[in-house]
């Protein structure tokens, strides 16, 4: 907590209001970001919720100062994801019923989609952590290659190369699985 917060309490109010606004704007993005790394939607939803509780806890303990931003939430999500992966040691298999099925009315269509979804998730697991990071930041966080480079400490050219390599690898794996 900043000195200003302790003295006036006004900073805390603004922090909390900002955090609630960020919740509405970024919860979905956080779930997708974590989902790409963890491979389980339920766990991703748990972690995304935990991000906001951690943020509040950081306010209470004085670890965090200033106005919360999407980057701060992203950092918390990233750390929680790394912790979770470290604890599990590997990706957990994704239960077939945990993915959202389009066309649930038709059981055959639903079964085919389940197989297709599992195929993509399995292929994503074959990527390196950095390649998954590029995919999630680029496709789901909506960052440009240059911005992703800023996050990862790499040039935008290197990010574009990783992006192409990731997509080629996915295509190769998914092509073999077909």
């Amino acid at each position: 907590m900043s000195k200003r917060n302790r003295e006036t309490g006004r900073g805390i109010e603004e922090f909390e209001a900002r955090l609630v606004s960020l919740y509405e704007g970024y919860y979905d993005k956080l779930v997708r970001y974590v989902y790409v790394h963890i491979g389980s939607r339920e766990e991703a939803e748990d972690i995304a919720g935990e991000v906001f509780l951690k943020a509040l806890s950081a306010l209470r303990s004085g670890q965090e100062q200033g106005t919360p931003t999407q980057w701060w939430l992203f950092r918390i999500a990233h750390n929680l994801t790394v912790d979770r992966l470290r604890k599990t040691g590997k990706h957990e298999p994704v239960p077939a019923d945990s993915v959202v099925l389009l066309g649930k009315d038709d059981p055959v269509d639903a079964a085919e989609k389940t197989i297709e979804y599992e195929r993509v998730i399995e292929a994503m697991k074959q990527l390196t952590v950095e390649q998954r990071e590029v995919i999630s930041l680029r496709f789901f966080w909506g960052l440009t290659s240059k911005e992703v480079g800023g996050v990862l400490g790499k040039s935008d050219g290197a990010v574009r190369e990783m992006q192409r390599a990731a997509l080629e690898r996915l295509r190769g794996i998914m092509g073999v699985q077909r």
Binding site: E24, D28, G49, F139, G157, R164, L170, M174
Partner: protein, 265 residues
């Protein structure tokens, strides 16, 4: 073709598709590379299809409930800590602090508590509107939000300007979608504004199903808007405050949700 060039083209196509362009449009702009681009961009679609689905509504509601419960808990803790903080300090320090606050801080306190009130005028350069993005407000016969005042902070200033709505209470069921209620119009000094606060006193509605009156809590009775905006002398700046009511559980609990994307100038 150089690999770097292909990487650039692929990146551009990904960007364009993210903005709404079609795969066919992109491929037709680069016919020489379409054979190589197509499978990679199709992979992108497949990934987005799997991971891009919205989280379950139940999980989102549960996370929101936990966040609000943690906020409430923190408020209670702060109140207790603040009480013990006051009584534990030596009385002399408290007296000196109060005297200093009274003398030195009087102007600042005056500015925060009683900022200059802006005068309404039908020909003014600033209008404040209330609108309601449809949510669960249709569960209600009526849902009234009472706004006591709105404060605006000019950029770089510690002072606030205040406007008192001419229409205090707005029924959200009547301002859904494109509809709105103008609650104040008047002259605001031209310039950049960094913050806006909306002070809400009552938010309550009557459920259609049971007729029960539901009160919805707004943390601190104030909504903070941190998106900067500009007011000019020669054009009308319209500021829309877009809120809606959403159910957050199966127990009939509702909350007021700010639609950030729809709010502002």
């Amino acid at each position: 073709m150089m690999t770097e060039d292909f990487d650039l083209i692929l990146d551009e196509c990904i960007e364009r598709i993210s903005r709404g362009d079609s795969l066919a449009d992109c491929l037709s702009d680069y016919p020489a590379y379409s054979e190589r681009l197509r499978p990679l961009l199709e992979s992108m679609y497949e990934i987005q299809n799997v991971y891009g689905a919205a989280p379950s509504a139940d999980a989102k509601r549960a996370a929101r409930r936990k966040l609000f419960a943690a906020l409430d808990k923190q408020h209670q803790t702060n109140r207790v800590l603040s009480f013990f903080g006051l009584v534990s300090r030596p009385a002399i320090l408290a007296t000196v602090a109060l005297l200093i606050l009274a003398v030195v801080g009087s102007l600042a306190v005056q500015s925060v508590l009683n900022p200059p009130t802006l005068v309404p005028s039908q020909n003014g350069n600033f209008a404040f509107l209330i609108s309601d993005n449809p949510g669960d407000v249709n569960d209600f016969e009526n849902f009234d939000v009472t706004i006591l005042e709105v404060k605006l902070q000019p950029e770089g200033s510690k002072e606030w300007l205040k406007l008192t709505p001419e229409i205090e209470t707005v029924d959200l069921t009547q301002v859904q979608g494109e509809r709105f209620e103008e609650i104040w119009r008047g002259d605001v000094p031209a310039g950049q504004y960094s913050r806006l606060r909306i002070y809400v006193s009552e938010t309550r509605g009557n459920l259609k199903s049971t007729g029960q009156t539901i009160e919805v809590k707004v943390p601190g009775n104030v909504v903070h808007m941190l998106t900067p905006f500009e007011v000019t002398d020669d054009t009308l700046t319209i500021y829309t405050f877009d809120i809606t009511v959403v159910g957050i559980g199966d127990d009939g609990t509702y909350m007021l949700k700010l639609n950030i994307d729809e709010s502002g100038t």
